[in-house]
Symmetry: none
Subunit: 201 residues, 2 copies
DNA sequence: TTGTAATTTAATAAC
DNA sequence: GTTATTAAATTACT
């Protein structure tokens, strides 16, 4: 039941992400993203005294590649014991705006989807090697098994027919993906071949 | 229109599955499916020397649940240096002990690159502190950035959009992990409190 | 050694 | 049905 599900482990994680209203979250994000570009006209000579203040982030326009790319992040080498990255709230500056209408997608959808990702999700099924082996064998012969075959497999493998169907869907997607990948590599090879043959001239 | 659709990217992938005629496919499938049941009368004492041979599949009658359900599938745990996962060739043993230890700088890189290519794993991306800082800021506002925001971030931070997405996935996993941990600690405290209060009586 | 980037895949939602 | 994306589990690198 529903209240049961809300008690779950991940409830806190959800709430911490949903404390701001969708409006506010989207608005704040817009502001942040915008701040990464709008300040092109600002002077770049502002003193950069304290790294990693809010200002240093929000004041950042198209970041200097040398700044962005340098100094790999090594948090565990820091002397700092203070782990501030924990159950973060970010509750401040909710007063940015009340009813901004500039967000593109439907925020309610995003909200509901976020919630649904956590609650009422089927636990991940772990297929055994034998099950996989048989499923793969069947897949090689027929990647679109009908309901009868799926039911048969389900009975044989002690799985729900639903799991079988999902497995075949994901398997087809995987095959398609790999095909796309190899085609991409082939095209890349063709390009490099073209280039090398041109260099030979 | 229809012929248009057939020209698409995935055409090859589909065709590779349709190389057998429908008759043949259905026939082979029938044989396979039947093989999962008909051999009830066969002796079960046949030597099961090599797991996952064709025989071990086809010889499987109503599979022993303990066999079918055990041993979760972990393909990448296998002998592994054989990088069969990617589109890579895995041409031969790289002979790890060739110059195994004490490669300090540039040979190490070459070796690692070879190995990476060989295993088919993307070289680990090292984010800069500034990149991390910005990613964290965005994460606090929205831990599920859509494609538009990811692309925007990618452009700003000079990263691939893919890296951004992976970063957010791992970041969410981290948050969840930390929540689980703290909840575990809380429960432990409750238990010890219970115990101490009982001892007081 | 730890933290985390990368990978794989079952589950889900949108279309 | 496909597609994109997620969580989960795990590997491997720094």
């Amino acid at each position: 039941n529903e209240s049961q599900a809300l008690i779950g482990d991940e409830c806190g994680a959800i709430k911490s992400n949903l404390q701001l209203s969708v409006h506010t979250r989207r608005r704040g994000l817009d502001l942040l993203m915008a701040s990464l570009t709008v300040s092109v006209h600002q002077s770049c000579s502002m003193s950069r005294r304290s790294a990693f203040t809010i200002e240093s982030i929000l004041g950042l326009d198209r970041p200097d590649p040398r700044t962005v790319l340098s100094a790999p992040h090594r948090p565990w080498t820091d002397v700092k014991p203070a782990g501030q990255s924990r159950g973060v709230v970010a509750d401040s500056d909710v007063s940015v705006d009340e009813d901004s209408k500039s967000y593109s997608k439907s925020p309610a959808d995003a909200y509901r989807r976020t919630l649904n990702w956590y609650i009422g999700r089927r636990p991940r099924t772990a297929f055994s090697s034998v099950q996989i082996k048989i499923l793969e064998s069947v897949f090689q012969l027929n990647s679109y098994p009908g309901i009868d075959i799926r039911e048969e497999l389900a009975k044989k493998l002690h799985l729900d027919e639903d799991r079988i169907q999902i497995w075949f869907q994901n398997r087809r997607a995987k095959l398609k993906r790999s095909h796309r990948e190899s085609q991409f590599l082939m095209e890349k090879n063709v390009l490099s071949d073209l280039q090398s043959s041109r260099e030979e001239r």
